[in-house]
Structure formats: structure tokens, C-alpha cells
């Protein structure tokens, strides 16, 4: 589980210090404030940690990290990630814990605006290699209908365009299912996800195409609603066990393409997965500018009596709050108050 993320001079982010992270964590802010950057910074760091010394791969951690940053952000040179106009270096610190003490560790790196390809200053905790779990980033845009194109474009044609969040997801969707018992939490979550969309998203080995199966009928993925694809992807990643307890899931704009009822139901499933069984579940990081999402998580924090840390932007500064202790005050909340005033005016 990720317990702390600290960033300095990271693209639009001047400084954030986010610790005491929980099973579900929320980043909120208006468009262009850097929500997605925070999630991508976190994702590139945690994937580096997970891939380091995996299997027979002996790529040094600094090379893995540099490749991941280039893949996720696709800058011309790494120094382009440093906040414009500052002479200070970009700094990122990620701290993690696991169920076993030897799974605890950290990754810290820094570099300046002139850094091109290799990272000069990377520190990491000694036990990082003990991780055998996978994290994923679910971008706002769906990837199922572009699945083949993403793989060909990045792996064969070596073209930029689809970043590593899309590529990793496309690869993860291709992962063969692992045998064994999924556990009651995942089985229940998959059942609920299936109920939300009224079917299953699956891959046809013969036609090499994704499709949506609803009862006896199969629908082309191109004819399937965006929201169904989005929820279907999570089900596929649970089904093939790419995601397991200990995984981190970053979801950018979870509200995109989903009906409010489906958002509410999806978040109930997320809460189940996050709390897991016996205390270890899948950790979620969500970036949103939807009051509906904030309010749903606020209710979950109270219903489940869990901490839901929030990072929110206000007047150019990133602040911390916890939904268990109340709603943060920012422009999204203020807009909701205004909407409520209008609702009262209209309906009462």
C-alpha cells in the first residue's frame, strides 16, 4: 500500500505532501490544476517499484524509472517535466508498506530541467524487489476499441501518442487468467460489476476481438456504450488476476461516461475491493472534478467509517483533508452549494 507521496516542481505541481494515505484516496481540482499529473507521477513510480528485479529482468531501477517516465508522460526530454520557470529540481518521493515488513520501501528521485534521458539521482528502499503485484492506470478515455491499435502503435511501430497508461492497460487486458480461487471479495465485486452493466466484456480468441456479452447476445465492442466498456475493463482485470490485493488502481475521471447511478454502484464496488478481506485490498487513487463523486465518497467514508484522504487545489495551493472528517471547501463544493440553492429555488 502506498502510504506517502511527495512532489515538488512536478509539471503544474509546485509542491504536495500527501501522507497517511488510505485504501481510497481522492484528488480533486478544476481542469488544468494537475490532477492527472499527480496520478501519473504516482503510477510511474509504483510501476517502477513493481517491475524492478521482476523475473529475470536486471534493468537498474534508474533506467526502469526513466523509461517509465518517458512512456507515461512522453516528453521530448525528461527535464520537460520540471515546472516551467523554476531553477529548483523536480522531486518525487513514494513510500510503501506491505503486509510483510520486508515489503516496506520507498523510491525517491530528483532531476533538473536540463536532464535529457538518464536520471542522476534515484534512491530506493532495499526491499522493493519483494513485490509481485501489478498496478494499473485507467485513463478517462476507454481503450478496448483501440486495443489492437495501441499495441501495434507502441510495440511494433514504436510511435508515441498512446502513453504507457494506455499501453500497460492494453497489455494487462491481454494477460492470461491465473488459476486458483479468486476469493469471496473479488467474486462478489465481479458479480456486482456484471449486474451494473448487465453483462460481461470478454475477448474472442477466434476473431481476436473484444465484445460485450449480454445474455445470449454478443455485441461488437464498437457498438457498446463507453460506460459499459469502462466497468467491463475493471471486471476483466479482476478476472484475469492482473489486479490482486496489494495492487494500486489509479482512475482518472471515474465519472466520465457513467450514469450517476452507475457511478454510485461502481464506487460501492470500489469500497468493497479497497477494504478487501482481512484488511488488505486494492488501493485506489481517483482524480475527479465531480461533486457527485466527492459526495458519494463522503457517504462511503461515513457508512464504512473509513478514512478517505483528499488532496484538493485551492487558489493554486494543494491542501489535504479527509472525507471522514468532512467535505473540503473548494470551487467544486462551492459550485454545488450554488446548484443546491438553485434546486431549492426551483423545486421547493
Amino acid at each position: 500500500m502506498i502510504t506517502r507521496l511527495a512532489l515538488q516542481n512536478y509539471g503544474p505541481i509546485t509542491a504536495i505532501e500527501w501522507d497517511r494515505l488510505g485504501p481510497i484516496n481522492l484528488v480533486i481540482g478544476a481542469n488544468g490544476t494537475g490532477k492527472t499529473t499527480i496520478l501519473k507521477a504516482l503510477y510511474s513510480a509504483v510501476r517502477t517499484v513493481e517491475e524492478y528485479l521482476r523475473g529475470d529482468d536486471r534493468t537498474p531501477v534508474d533506467e526502469l524509472l526513466a523509461a517509465k517516465l518517458k512512456g507515461v508522460f512522453q516528453p521530448d526530454k525528461l527535464g520537460d517535466l520540471v515546472t516551467k520557470g523554476t531553477k529548483e529540481p523536480l522531486v518525487c518521493l513514494l513510500e510503501l508498506t506491505g503486509q510483510q515488513a520486508d515489503a516496506n520501501g520507498y523510491l525517491k528521485y530528483r532531476f533538473g530541467a536540463h536532464t535529457t534521458r538518464s536520471l542522476p539521482d534515484v534512491e530506493w528502499g532495499y526491499a522493493l524487489a519483494s513485490r509481485d503485484i501489478n498496478s494499473i492506470f485507467l485513463p478517462a478515455k476507454e481503450v478496448l476499441s483501440l486495443h489492437k491499435i495501441i499495441l501495434k502503435s507502441r510495440l511494433l511501430d514504436k510511435l508515441n501518442g498512446f502513453d504507457d497508461t494506455c499501453l500497460d492497460l492494453a497489455v494487462a487486458l491481454n494477460t492470461s487468467p491465473r488459476p486458483g480461487d479468486q476469493g469471496s471479495v473479488v467474486a462478489s465485486a465481479r458479480k456486482k460489476l456484471g449486474a451494473i452493466i448487465g453483462g460481461k466484456v470478454a475477448y474472442d480468441d477466434e476473431s481476436k476481438l473484444w465484445y460485450f456479452q449480454q445474455g445470449r447476445f454478443k455485441y461488437l465492442i464498437g457498438l457498446t456504450a463507453e460506460g459499459i466498456k469502462k466497468i467491463g475493463i475493471l471486471d476483466v482485470l479482476l478476472g484475469n488476476r492482473y489486479l490482486t490485493p496489494g495492487s494500486t488502481v489509479c482512475i482518472d475521471e471515474p465519472e466520465a461516461a457513467l450514469h450517476p447511478k452507475a457511478i454510485s454502484q461502481l464506487f460501492d464496488v470500489i469500497a468493497d475491493l479497497a477494504l478487501g478481506k482481512g484488511g488488505e485490498g486494492i488501493q485506489f487513487f481517483l482524480a475527479s472534478h465531480s461533486y457527485f463523486v466527492i459526495n458519494k465518497l463522503y457517504l462511503i467514508a461515513h457508512q464504512k467509517n473509513i478514512s478517505i484522504p483528499v488532496l484538493y487545489e485551492e487558489d493554486g495551493q494543494w491542501q489535504r483533508a479527509d472525507l471522514r472528517h468532512g467535505m473540503p471547501t473548494n470551487s467544486i463544493i462551492e459550485e454545488s452549494v450554488q446548484l443546491y440553492r438553485e434546486e431549492v429555488e426551483l423545486l421547493l
Binding site: N295, L299, H302, G326, M327, I333, Y340, R341, V344, L348
Partner: protein, 172 residues
């Protein structure tokens, strides 16, 4: 008949006066007086704009951060609204006898129960605007089953502060 055309003072706010026969001071009704043991009750019912407003007034509300006190408050408000709704329906259906039905203002006796709207309105004196929606949503969650059982929408639940209540002409 216990109706009020005079103002109702409650929780530091002055409600009304409302048009004669359009307000039923349920908390002061004889039927409630004889059935009140252990039954929390709203202040009054107001017939307005083809809907019955069930109005409860409070001088303050605990913040959601104090979970136990907030939960207790929500539970109390759920009881208040639920009981007021059911007591009105019980009286209107004649289950409390002809005397209780006779105490009900004539306008309330003649509303069509199948089509009349219901609005559950909690007014909290001095409540911060940014707390209202959270409280409304939390209360709506609590009342969801009660509302659905009667074929009502949760969207008919409102939490107002004194400024909004004044704007809606509910208080002076």
C-alpha cells in the same frame, strides 16, 4: 379545529403567519398530544403550491465530523419526518377517529392523497450553506426507504438555513 394564522415561534425563528386553513400545527394537535409518548414530531404541516410541506425547525445541527452526534441527529430527523407523514396519513384515513379528522384543516381533508406532493423541509437556524447539501443528502439516504414505500422521491427532501427559508417566505 386547531389551525394557525398566527406566527409559530420555533428555534429562534418566526414561521408564518400563513393563509388561514393552510397550516396544521401538528406538534400542538390533540391527536399528537394523546399519542406523543416516545413519538418525535415535526412542527407543522403547510399546504402550499399543491404540496404538503412537513416542516421541522432546529436551532443547530451537529457537524458530520462528530459521527455519533450527527448520526443521532439524522436518526431523530428521520423519525420526525416519518412520524409526521404517518400521523397525517393516519388522521386523514380516519384511523384516529372523526374527532382527529375534524381537527385537520378542511384544505388538508380535501387533498387528493394519490396526487398531492409532499416536501420534507428541515430549517436550521444559522446553518452554513456548505453544510446544507451534505445534511440533505445524508437525510435523503436515511429516508430513502420511507419515501420509496410511499411512492415519493428523495428529491423532495430539503434542508434550509434561515436565510433560504426567509427567501422562500417560510419565516419572517
Amino acid at each position: 379545529m386547531i389551525t394557525t394564522t398566527t406566527a409559530i415561534m420555533e428555534s429562534g425563528m418566526t414561521f408564518g403567519p400563513y393563509p388561514a386553513g393552510h397550516c396544521w400545527h401538528i406538534e400542538k394537535s390533540r391527536v399528537y398530544a394523546s399519542n406523543q409518548q416516545g413519538v418525535k414530531m415535526a412542527e407543522f404541516l403547510l399546504l402550499r403550491d399543491n404540496a404538503i410541506w412537513i416542516v421541522e425547525a432546529k436551532s443547530s445541527s451537529p457537524r458530520p465530523e462528530g459521527r455519533q452526534s450527527f448520526d443521532r441527529f439524522l436518526h431523530e430527523m428521520q423519525q420526525v419526518m416519518h412520524n409526521a407523514l404517518w400521523l397525517f396519513l393516519g388522521v386523514r384515513l380516519g384511523r384516529h377517529g372523526p374527532e382527529a379528522l375534524g381537527d385537520l384543516p378542511v384544505a388538508f381533508q380535501s387533498v387528493n392523497l394519490a396526487t398531492i406532493g409532499f416536501k420534507l423541509v428541515l430549517v436550521i437556524n444559522g446553518h452554513k450553506p456548505e453544510w446544507l447539501l451534505r445534511l440533505r443528502n445524508s437525510l435523503a439516504c436515511r429516508l430513502m426507504a420511507n419515501m420509496r414505500a410511499l411512492g415519493l422521491q428523495e428529491s423532495t427532501i430539503f434542508v434550509l438555513n434561515d436565510a433560504m427559508a426567509r427567501q422562500k417566505g417560510l419565516i419572517q
